[in-house]
Assembly symmetry: C2
Homo-oligomer: 197 residues x 2
DNA sequence: AGCGTTGCCTAACATTTGTTTGTGTTCAGG
DNA sequence: CCTGAACACAAACAAATGTTAGGCAACGCT
C-alpha cells in the first residue's frame, strides 16, 4: 500500500473539489454526480477514492477542527495579558481560515449534516474551542482589561459570528490581505468602531 | 374567495412549521414528507395549501427582507449623528430578528436555494440593505465619529456577520432579553470590548 | 336541501439520490 | 513479461425526492 502520496494526490483532489461544491450548493444539494462531473469522471468512479459522501464531509470538518485547536494551543502557551491573547487568538483563527477558505466555509455551514456519532464529536470539539476563548474573555474581565457590563456569552458568540462568516465574503484577491484582515478584525472587536478621543 | 383569513390560518401554519424544519435540517435536506409528518398529514395534502416547496422558502425570505427594509426606513428618517444611527439600525435589525427567530435563521442560511430569478431579486434587496448601512458608516467616518483606519467593507461585513448569526445561538428564554441584546451588541461593535479608561 | 370551499386521503408518476458490482485499461516495479 | 495497484467505466439497485390526479368527507352559506 503506497498510501503515502498515491492516495493523497487523487483522493485529496476529490475532496478539494467536493469542498468547492459543498460550499457553493450546500452539502445536501450537492450530488455525487455533480462532483463527478466537476472532476470529469463518472459518479461511480468516485468510490475508488472515497468510501462515502459523508466521509468527505467528515475529513473536511475534522481536519479544520484540528487546525483551529492547534492554533489556539500556541496562543495559550504565551504569557501575555488577556486582551493580547484575545487578539492573537483572533488573528490565529483568521489565518487558519485564510489557509483554506473553502474548507472553512464547509466547516461552519455544513457540519450539521454529519451523522451520529460524528456530529456529537464535532460539536464537543467546537464547544471546547469556544469555551477556551470564553475563558480568555473572563480572565480579561477579572484583570480589568475588558468591560464587565457585557454578557459573556453574547460577547463570545458575537466574536465567533464575525470570524466564521469571513469565508463567505472575503475575496483573497482583494486589497486587504489575510494578516491585515486579522489585525483589523481584532482591533474592531476589541476597541470598537468609535474613534478613541 | 375568502383568502383574507381562510388561507392565512392553515397556510401560515404550514409555512411556520416549514420554517422550523428548514432551520433545523436545512432546506435541501428537509423533505415534504418530513414536513407533512410534523403537521400530522400526508405529503400530498400540503399542496392544497402551497404551490411548491420553493414557494414556502420564497415567502419566508422575502417577508423577512421586507421587515428589515421597513426597520431601516424608520432609522434613516431620524436626524441624529451617524454613530447613533448605526446603533439604532443594529437594534432595529435585532428586533426584527427577535420577532421571528426561526424565519430569520432560514432567511440568512437557506436563501441560496432560491431559484432564478428570485435569487437574483433577493440578493439585490440584500446588497441594497447592506449598502445603506455602509453609507451610515461612511457618514460616520466623514463626521469624525468613526475611525478611518478600518476597511469599510470589512467593518460592514463583520457587523452583519455578528447580527446574522444571532438566531443560531440566541435562546429567547435566556436571561438577556432581545432589546437588551440589541443594546449590548450595538455597544460592543461601536465601543469594543475594552474598558474605556 | 344544495352548493362551494376547505382539508385531507390514496395511488401513482418521473427523477434523482447514494452506492455496489463487475469489468476494463494503463502503467510502474519485480 | 508478469503482477498488482490505480483509475475509470457501464449497468444497475433500492430508496427517497417533489409533485399531480382524482376522490371523499365535513363544514358554513344561501
Amino acid at each position: 500500500m503506497s498510501e503515502a502520496l498515491g492516495n493523497l494526490s487523487r483522493k485529496e483532489q476529490v475532496i478539494r473539489k467536493a469542498a468547492e461544491l459543498f460550499k457553493e450548493k450546500g452539502y445536501a444539494a450537492a450530488s455525487m454526480r455533480d462532483l463527478a462531473q466537476l472532476l470529469g469522471i463518472e459518479a461511480a468512479s468516485l468510490y475508488s477514492h472515497i468510501k462515502s459522501k459523508e466521509e468527505i464531509l467528515r475529513s473536511l470538518c475534522f481536519d479544520m477542527a484540528t487546525e483551529f485547536r492547534k492554533s489556539l494551543d500556541e496562543v495559550e502557551k504565551r504569557n501575555v495579558p488577556a486582551s493580547e491573547k484575545l487578539r492573537m487568538g483572533i488573528i490565529g483563527h483568521i489565518q487558519v481560515m485564510a489557509k483554506d477558505l473553502t474548507a472553512s466555509a464547509v466547516f461552519m455551514n455544513e457540519h450539521r449534516h454529519l451523522s451520529e456519532p460524528f456530529l456529537r464529536d464535532f460539536l464537543l470539539l467546537r464547544i471546547n474551542y469556544i469555551n477556551r476563548f470564553k475563558k480568555i474573555l473572563e480572565d480579561g474581565v477579572r484583570a480589568g482589561e475588558f468591560k464587565s457590563t457585557i454578557d459573556k456569552k453574547l460577547a463570545v458568540m458575537t466574536l465567533f459570528s464575525s470570524l466564521n462568516w469571513m469565508p463567505m465574503w472575503y475575496d483573497p484577491d482583494s486589497a486587504i490581505d489575510p494578516s491585515a484582515l486579522g489585525y483589523q478584525l481584532a482591533d474592531m472587536l476589541v476597541n470598537g468602531l468609535k474613534k478613541n478621543p
